[in-house]
């Protein structure tokens, strides 16, 4: 029985009269790639922010890597990495300095080792070494994502969050990105949580999926979820685009 890495119990989030989460339960297990999907405004980002301790829920209990999550309390900084949707790189630092920062914060490595290790991570994320000394504004969108991935991986995290990792990437870049993530999962024994809109990403990466509808999460494998009886789920998984992707996958 794999241990649970994230556990969310009875999460309630409300903005004014708008109920975003209404007793949401969620369980992510060690070593899996877990995707969260849902329509606009279904509370994907709020869920992520709650799990990361950036948002105080009205009620509910969240545990990540065995630590209870409360805003303002100690968080498992050392063991998680987050790739925010727009990269969230520090604009005044070069790519390498961005990656070095978490290493400097959480280890006593010497300057030289630290910067070598940061270069390694940058290359691991698929960036050419000449990108290391650039600042984020000199990078393309795809490169920013890769640099942010390098930073998220800097501390050898056990848990990786990816918020729309392939949004804004062209299909080829998105596929490369997915390869990097699959490779990392294989060699580093990561647990990965992905928030995505991208059906390709969903089908090529996920072990299990949670669909956010009506303030709750419906969880299961892709096959299980795709056959659930709910209007939004039906139109999402049985729309033309989804069918095309599934047939091509089964042909391959």
């Amino acid at each position: 029985m794999p241990e649970s890495v994230i556990s969310v119990r009875g999460l309630v989030n409300k903005f004014g009269r708008n109920m975003v989460h209404d007793g949401l339960d969620l369980e992510v297990k060690q070593g899996e790639i877990f995707s969260i999907v849902g329509g606009s405004g279904s509370g994907k980002s709020v869920l992520l922010r709650s799990i990361l301790g950036l948002q105080r829920p009205i009620s509910g209990k969240i545990t990540v890597l065995g630590m209870p999550i409360r805003p303002g309390a100690e968080l498992p900084y050392r063991h998680w990495g987050v790739l925010f949707q727009h990269g969230a790189l520090f604009s005044g630092l070069t790519v390498r300095e961005n990656v070095e920062l978490p290493i400097a914060l959480h280890s006593s490595m010497g300057q030289h080792t630290r910067s070598k290790l940061a270069s390694l991570k940058v290359q691991m994320a698929g960036l050419p070494s000449e990108a290391e000394d650039k600042v984020p504004s000199e990078l393309s969108g795809g490169m920013v994502k890769r640099a942010a991935l390098a930073r998220a991986l800097a501390l050898e995290p056990r848990l990786l969050f990816l918020d729309e990792p392939t949004a804004g990437l062209d299909p080829i870049a998105a596929e490369e990105f997915e390869d990097v993530i699959l490779y990392l999962r294989e060699s580093l024994d990561l647990t990965v949580v992905i928030i995505t809109h991208d059906l390709d990403t969903l089908y090529s990466l996920s072990d299990r999926v949670a669909v956010l509808v009506d303030g709750k999460a419906r969880t299961g494998t892709l096959e299980e979820v795709a056959t659930m009886d709910h209007p939004w789920i039906n139109s999402y998984f049985n729309g033309v685009r989804a069918r095309v992707i599934r047939t091509t996958e089964s042909v391959v």
Binding site: R78, H86, S91, G92, S107, S108, M109, G110, T113, K116, L117, L120, Q123, M124, S129, E130, V135, P136, S137, E138, V144, L155, E156, Y183, E186, S187, L188
Partner: protein, 374 residues
């Protein structure tokens, strides 16, 4: 034979064997690094790393081991590995064996002591020239292609930089009047010239202090606001507002620069006039309370000391100061490109340079007016 928490060294059949143990992970990176420094094999032996006893190894640990093996290879050994799950290493091979670009050579050291400052001077000069050119281009472009919202934006700016500054400028000028009158009367009375207090204070306020302090206050208030707000619009990745204007056919110079500069050019003389009034009011307040003059006597003295020219000399400088503050503020804002730090730096520059240039211009005006005999 040495050993540490992370490996045991031993000799077996002329082979130098390093048996790895413990946790080769990120958390132990410094300790591993330290202990690897002491690891050195006797010359001309075979080296073998045995990895079967490892409890855990992550990418950082694998990398440290790999780096050590490369180092030993460079020393002429041929390290071998056994019992290693090769996923980490295969990857490291791919990554590390890529050719690295060499560091660019440092230029000839002999002349750097001269070349550096000269280069810096050259850079500053060319930047200054290009700044002036850019300001002129911005202004002319704004005038040539005013945007449909120029008028409305100008009114908006008049409210922001003009009306909203009224309370602080009124208060500041009143207090300046009070302080100047107080200090001047103390000093001039000692010299037996107490009667000239009002002449001195009125002339200094109307000719110099009123307009200059107003300009400095406005540079701090609005120069910084111009630079910061335009800078945020320019920050790419955050919001590409200026680009968006361009593709919509809304000329940025006419929309962003011109209204701000025009607003200041109109507002600053009015604020300076207000400052003059309040400064004189402060002087009057001191004269009536401290010097024991009546209001009638006070205004008699003012009438004698001050002509319309005195006031006009002061106020005539205001539009030029406004141009300086507006041009510097908007230019520095639009020069923001990449980072949050740069935004802060350009905002600081906008204020500091505007104040410096205002004071320089004031000195120039002072000389010109004196030469003209006004």
């Amino acid at each position: 034979m040495g050993s540490s928490d992370f490996y045991i060294e031993e000799f077996v059949d002329r082979r130098f064997i390093v048996s790895l143990r413990g946790e080769w992970t990120f958390d132990n990176a410094s300790a591993i690094e330290q202990s690897l420094k002491t690891l050195s094999a006797p010359a001309s032996t075979d080296v073998e790393f045995r990895c079967a006893g490892l409890r855990r190894i992550d990418l950082t640990g694998a990398w440290l081991l790999y780096a050590k093996s490369l180092e030993m290879e460079a020393e002429g050994f041929k390290p071998e590995f056994s019992g290693f799950k090769d996923t980490h290493f295969k990857f490291l091979h791919q990554v590390i064996d890529q050719p690295h670009p060499e560091d660019p050579g440092i230029e000839d050291k002999e002349f750097t002591f001269l070349a550096r400052p000269m280069a810096a001077l050259g850079r500053t000069t060319t930047h200054a020239i290009s700044d002036i050119g850019q300001m002129a281009a911005m202004g002319l472009d704004g005038l040539r292609r005013p945007s449909p919202v120029t008028f409305r934006e100008t009114i908006n700016q008049l409210y922001e930089v003009g009306l909203k500054a009224v309370p602080i400028i009124a208060l500041m000028s009143f207090l300046i009047g009070v302080v100047l009158a107080y200090q001047a009367s103390t000093l001039l009375t000692q010299l037996g010239a107490g009667a000239f207090t009002i002449d001195l204070v009125a002339i200094s306020i109307l000719r110099e202090m009123g307009v200059m302090l107003t300009a400095i206050m406005v540079a701090g208030r609005s120069g910084s606001a111009f630079a910061a707000s335009l800078g945020v619009m320019k920050l790419n990745e955050v919001n590409e507002e200026v680009d968006d204007m361009l593709i919509m056919g809304l000329p940025p110079n006419g929309t962003l620069v011109l209204p701000r500069v025009l607003g200041l050019v109109v507002a600053l003389p009015l604020l300076a006039a207000l400052s003059d009034l309040c400064g004189i009011a402060g002087t009057w307040f001191m004269s009536v309370t401290l010097l024991g003059l009546s209001s009638a006597q006070f205004f008699d003295r003012i009438n004698d000391a001050v002509t319309l020219d005195t006031v006009m000399v002061g106020l005539s400088k205001a539009p030029f100061f406004a141009l300086i503050i507006g041009a510097v503020g908007t230019l520095r804002g639009l020069q923001v490109k990449s980072s949050a730090e740069e935004l802060g730096r350009q905002t600081t520059r906008a204020v500091v340079e505007a104040i410096f240039l205002v004071i320089t211009a004031d000195a120039a005006f002072s000389i010109i007016y004196t030469e003209l005999g006004i």
